[in-house]
């Protein structure tokens, strides 16, 4: 793919990804990733210090599916949803069948009986695999949150 096409492909995937989560189609979420994907949620401070742990840390797609079924069938929390607001992907760099990109985001949280509130801001540090004509899958996504402070809990994935 050409640079501009790649940029568009990444943007479209990001938009569909955010919409799936915000529309509560969480079952679709693992499908954006390759089977041997890596997904973690960490903070800027941990990231720059090179600390490996995440508040979510998954090294295969099965773990993402388990997150979703955990949320649906096991975990107890007050009903809420997210609204992702995505920036344009920056630094889109193709390398063979891989593409790296960084996309800043803000996520608002809408909890029962409460106004929308800013929940998390951060940046997706991504590596995509080109899997088709204009099809990308996320091979690696590190969600680097700007703050290390999380309010109450983080149940729904970012």
């Amino acid at each position: 793919m050409k640079t501009l096409e790649l940029h568009l492909a990444v943007s479209l995937l990001q938009a569909r990804y955010a919409q799936a989560i915000d529309d509560d189609r969480l079952e679709d979420w693992p499908g954006f990733f390759t089977e041997d994907c890596f997904y973690s949620i960490t903070s800027h401070e941990n990231h720059v210090r090179g600390l490996a742990a995440g508040i979510v840390w998954c090294d295969n797609q099965g773990m993402l599916k388990d997150r979703v079924s955990g949320l649906r069938e096991a975990n107890i929390y007050e009903r809420h949803r997210y609204r992702h607001v995505l920036s344009m992907p920056a630094t889109v760099q193709p390398e063979g069948d891989r593409v790296r990109a960084q996309t800043p985001f803000a996520v608002y949280r809408i909890t029962r009986n409460r106004p929308s509130e800013l929940f998390v801001t951060g940046c997706y540090h991504d590596e995509y695999r080109i899997t088709g004509e204009d099809d990308l899958k996320i091979a690696r996504r590190v969600v680097v949150c700007d703050s290390s402070v999380f309010d109450t809990l983080l149940a729904i994935p970012l």
């Binding site: 742990a53 995440g54 999380f150």
Partner: protein
């Protein structure tokens, strides 16, 4: 001892039933909150400050809190650890503005008063004035104007501080039974920090600390534990409560071929769901690295330290009040320097169970808030804490609230309530 002449909570009295009833005003009373700062956090308690690993070299420091008091912990030139209030002796500004760092002295940014690594005031900018004018009066005693200093003690690589000269030695304060369970984990080797996160909780700190001690809720609220046999009340395990009630250990073990009892199903308890299976079972395949079969151990030291093991994941939690209905939970995820790459990966995977997004622990972030909102106008009502009778003693069942009552026993003694 505490000044018990002043009531900790004017106009309030503890219910006659004793430790089996908790009056709800303890979670909402502003006067009580201020008294806690003096009687608990600045009283005869040891408060977790940081890991010794955070203060490895001379000049390494950490800014943290004892209750709501900002505190600096540091390693000085003599190799010893010191801690002092993070409050400039001049006008009260914070002395250290970073969470952690390395320095050879501390200088307040406001008017540049400076402190050595032991927290003693060493320099006053323009102390002699300028060109013979101004300056401090002669004979100003700098060391006498240092910020308040804490006693510091360490055990098993953990650093604790106390404002009290009368508090017992740290290891006596923790008690041998609980200390043995700290050694069980931290005796394994040199700690390697894997990550740190902070969780804001919308509730009084005591609701969280009680939750930690509440061995009764764990397998009822957290489905992950129950279904995957990490923890069931019917599993072999037990509860240790320290003599004074403040410190505790709850633990359980999985016996590999144990048949599922029907206790949960018989009672129709929600957390029993035999149909629930994982796509990726690798993350719950723990190894018995300590060699005693214990797969879950939660341990607390009054008033704000928690050490947790779930399979092969280890965390330290520091519980800090931030007002009457707000609490911060500082999570430190750790492993050990000598971990193999496989052990490290196993820990990173199993850490999915804990923390603000923990498959097990995320519920604990909510329930305190549910109580805080539930008791909005119930100051004169009380909670019932009667599982297992009225004892505060160790037991071989976890279907008891003994360690919650133990917490209140210690709390009331410190507070003079």
């Amino acid at each position: 001892m505490n000044d018990v002449a002043t009531p900790a909570a004017p106009g309030r009295t503890w219910p006659d039933e004793g430790l089996t009833r908790i009056p709800y005003w303890v979670y909402t009373d502003e006067a009580l909150r201020r008294q806690e700062q003096q009687r608990l956090y600045q009283g005869e308690t040891w408060n977790y400050l940081c890991l010794e690993a955070d203060l490895a070299q001379t000049g390494d420091y950490v800014s943290t809190f004892v209750g709501e008091t900002p505190v600096v912990a540091v390693r000085a030139e003599d190799g010893e650890l010191y801690a002092f209030e993070n409050r400039c002796a001049h006008r009260g500004a914070l002395i250290a503005l970073e969470n952690a760092g390395r320095t050879d002295q501390f200088t307040c940014v406001y008017h540049a008063w400076s402190y050595d690594l032991q927290g003693t005031l060493k320099g006053v900018a323009f102390e002699q004035g300028v060109a013979g004018k101004g300056g401090m009066p002669p004979g100003f005693d700098k060391p006498a104007h240092s910020p308040r200093k804490l006693r510091v003690a360490t055990t098993c690589g953990l650093v604790f501080g106390s404002f009290s000269d009368d508090v017992p030695d740290l290891e006596d304060y923790i008690g041998e039974a609980v200390l043995g369970r700290i050694r069980r984990i931290l005796g394994k080797g040199e700690i390697e920090v894997l990550g740190r996160f902070t969780q804001k909780l919308p509730n009084n700190w005591k609701l969280y600390f009680e939750n930690v001690k509440d061995s009764y809720h764990a397998s009822l609220l957290h489905l992950f534990l129950t279904t995957f046999d990490v923890n069931r009340l019917t599993q072999k395990g037990g509860l240790i409560v320290s003599e004074d009630g403040g410190n505790h250990v709850s633990y359980s073990m999985v016996i590999p071929d144990e048949r599922h009892g029907s206790e949960y199903r018989d009672q129709g308890i929600r957390s029993e769901n035999q149909d629930y299976t994982l796509h990726d079972t690798s993350f719950l395949q723990g190894t018995d690295e300590i060699g005693d079969g214990i797969t879950l151990q939660i341990l607390s030291v009054f008033p704000g330290f928690v050490l947790g093991q779930v399979w092969n994941s280890f965390v330290v939690r520091q519980v800090l009040p931030k007002g009457v209905d707000e609490t911060e939970l500082h999570w430190t995820y750790f492993g050990f320097r000598e971990d193999t790459p496989e052990q490290r990966t196993a820990r990173l995977k199993q850490l999915n169970l804990v923390g603000p997004a923990g498959l097990v622990s995320m519920e604990d972030g909510c329930v305190g808030g549910f109580v805080q909102r539930g008791i909005a106008t119930a100051e004169d009502e009380r909670a019932v804490v009667q599982m297992g009778g009225d004892a505060t003693s160790s037991s071989d069942t976890r279907a008891t609230e003994a360690s919650v009552r133990g917490f209140w026993k210690a709390y009331r003694r410190h507070m003079g309530l």
